[in-house]
Amino acid sequence: MPLAYTSQRVAYPYFVIALLLFALQVIVGIWLALSYAVTIPQGLVDILPFSTTRAIHTNLLVLWLLLGFMGTTYFMIPEETEREIFSALLAYLQLAILAGTGVTAVVGFLFGWTKGKPLLEIPFPLDYLVVVGALIFLFNVGMTILRAQRWTVVQGSLFGGLVFLAVMYLFNLPFYANLSIDWYYWWWVIHLWVEGAWELVAAALTAWILIKITDVPRELVEKWLYVELGLFLFTGIAGTGHHYYWLGAPKYWLWVGGIFSALEPLPILLMVLDAWHYIRNRRDGIKGRLVFTLAVGMSILHFVGAGFWGFLHTLPQINYYTHGSQVTVAHGHIAFFGAYVLLNIMFFYYAMPKLKGLAEFDERRGTLAFWWMSITMMLMTLAFSVAGVLQTYIERVMGLGYMTAQAQMRFWFAILVFLGLSLLGGVILTVLDLLTLRPAPAVAQSGPAVR
């Protein structure tokens, strides 16, 4: 089965690099869990401190997710606009710039070259190269849409989300002398990315996949997309306030942040119901059972992670005790996995067979890997949560020392080392499977009976 548009092929190297960085991210993550569980000798800590490996872990996450989104966009936009990509060459150039910058930054961290701001450690002038890469991307996609003159809501949401994403990164560039103002705008990048711009991208990609794998009318999907986007932005923008409770901002943020962020699970719930509704009311069979499994699994874990685990500690009365503890870590892991990791993997499984010219492929390994990773991640979330509750109670409620609490949490980090190894197994299986997709066995069969 040939590709509808030859320039869709540019997505392939994006996917391959993203997948390799994903595996690397998880390997570094296991080291982080180990650093919590056992004593790392002083000599090694002096050369390779926790701060360095933590920066690598988080930057690899952001880098591979963004490369995944970009590859996905390049795969989708020709079909959506019914035009070839404006310039395939620019797409490759952009990949070289962004992946090159990212890898340089990660190596730089090892030598202490850092901006020293969590999650946004990429130092000057590399951060400006990121902007250049993003501008090339927006130009390339924008020109494709502009020349096609075929306006759809899905395109609009996707492109809007990407522009929003790029604009927000700019708030990371200046140096803020006041620590409180620094963190105020840090959240304009981080929060408005994951609970704003990235949600627009995710909603658009999910809508597009649903149009492709079910036969539900586009008008219906696009109508509900409007409602979802409206709710995402209504709750998400003012919901930024749930990060402003304790940073030196006025007290009204406790009200605004509490109320708006408590509503944040609603649009995600709508997305779950939406996907479920389309899939149940389809007329034909599902085209590609694994992609369907991933779509449902993604929306459910998106709700569990971003919605439920977020809601648990978003109200100021609770957040006063949980803020800056392992409870945040539990939420961070399951939210990123449910919302954005599975989204990327779903799309990889949709696009990779087509990029390799396979009409149908053997879905057994991929399905096994999905369940393996999802169950492991759910267990990891529970382990982080137990550690977080211990920390909250011992350190913040009882008022005992920081290390006293950490000693009680150590056991759970030892568990997390093993869960991390298990996750790595699932990730390696996913990566290998995607890179070596095999045609479906000749016997007609629909997916394995893993469920």
Binding site: Q42, L179, K223, W246, R396, M403
Partner: protein
């Protein structure tokens, strides 16, 4: 739901949230100057923030609760350890850590002073009482500081003297006002009264304070100084 309504939800929802958010951001910028006492942002404090970034402290420690969770929160570290304590840990972390290590960083003496200035400034940010675990420190450090200056003043507070006596507008009114007691009574007289209140007046109802000899002398010194 009609298409029109769906679009309305999108535009209205986004607009309301955005306008509210930007308006509050504008107001926050005005108020944050006071809440963070931005007038105290000296060059040394700002240089200290750069030191904080340079050594990537924030990827192990949180500050204002943000960052990484591998080490304790730094918002109120100045209350916990004071400037000399902070310097000692950074100079030789291996002496202060047990099973979880902090790297030995090549921080210069000048950078150390700047970092302490930054952490001292940060410790005064109005965080609405966060973090909970450091809240009680405020009183304790206040007490420690006062103890260094005047142990008698601390005893006056701790032994409950304020219940009956008033000093500079604070305290009860059953007993005599003590704001200028040092100009009326000598150190020796005060010491006698503290040992046996009736030595000053047979009708005195004050119970003799439960204090050691040393504490009594400290109290007397404090009161004699109130002139």
């Amino acid at each position: 739901m009609t298409n029109k309504l769906a679009k309305l939800i999108f535009y209205l929802g986004t607009l309301i949230s955005l306008v509210l958010f930007l308006a509050l951001t504008f107001d926050t910028h005005r108020q944050i100057q006071t809440l963070t006492h931005a007038d105290q942002l000296s060059e040394q404090v700002v240089a200290g923030k750069q030191v904080w970034h340079k050594y990537n402290c924030n990827d192990c420690h949180t500050i204002l609760g943000f960052g990484s969770y591998y080490g304790p929160d730094m918002t109120r570290v100045y209350w916990r350890r004071g400037s000399e304590g902070i310097k000692a840990v950074i100079r030789s972390p291996e002496k202060f850590t047990t099973w979880r290590k902090m790297p030995r960083l090549p921080v210069t003496d000048e950078e150390l002073e700047e970092l302490v200035a930054f952490l001292r400034w940060a410790s005064e940010i109005d965080t609405h009482g966060w973090p909970p675990q450091d809240q009680k420190l405020r009183g304790e450090t206040g007490r420690a500081a006062a103890l260094g200056v005047s142990p008698g003043a601390v005893l006056f507070q701790e032994k409950g003297c304020f219940a009956c006596h008033r000093v500079y507008g604070t305290g009860g009114q059953q007993g005599p006002e003590l704001t200028h007691v040092g100009s009326r009574l000598s150190y020796e007289t005060i010491e006698k009264v503290l040992t046996d209140p009736r030595s000053a007046s047979p009708r005195a109802t004050m119970p003799p304070p439960v204090v050691s000899h040393e504490e009594r002398d400290q109290l007397a010194a404090f009161l004699a100084g109130l002139k």
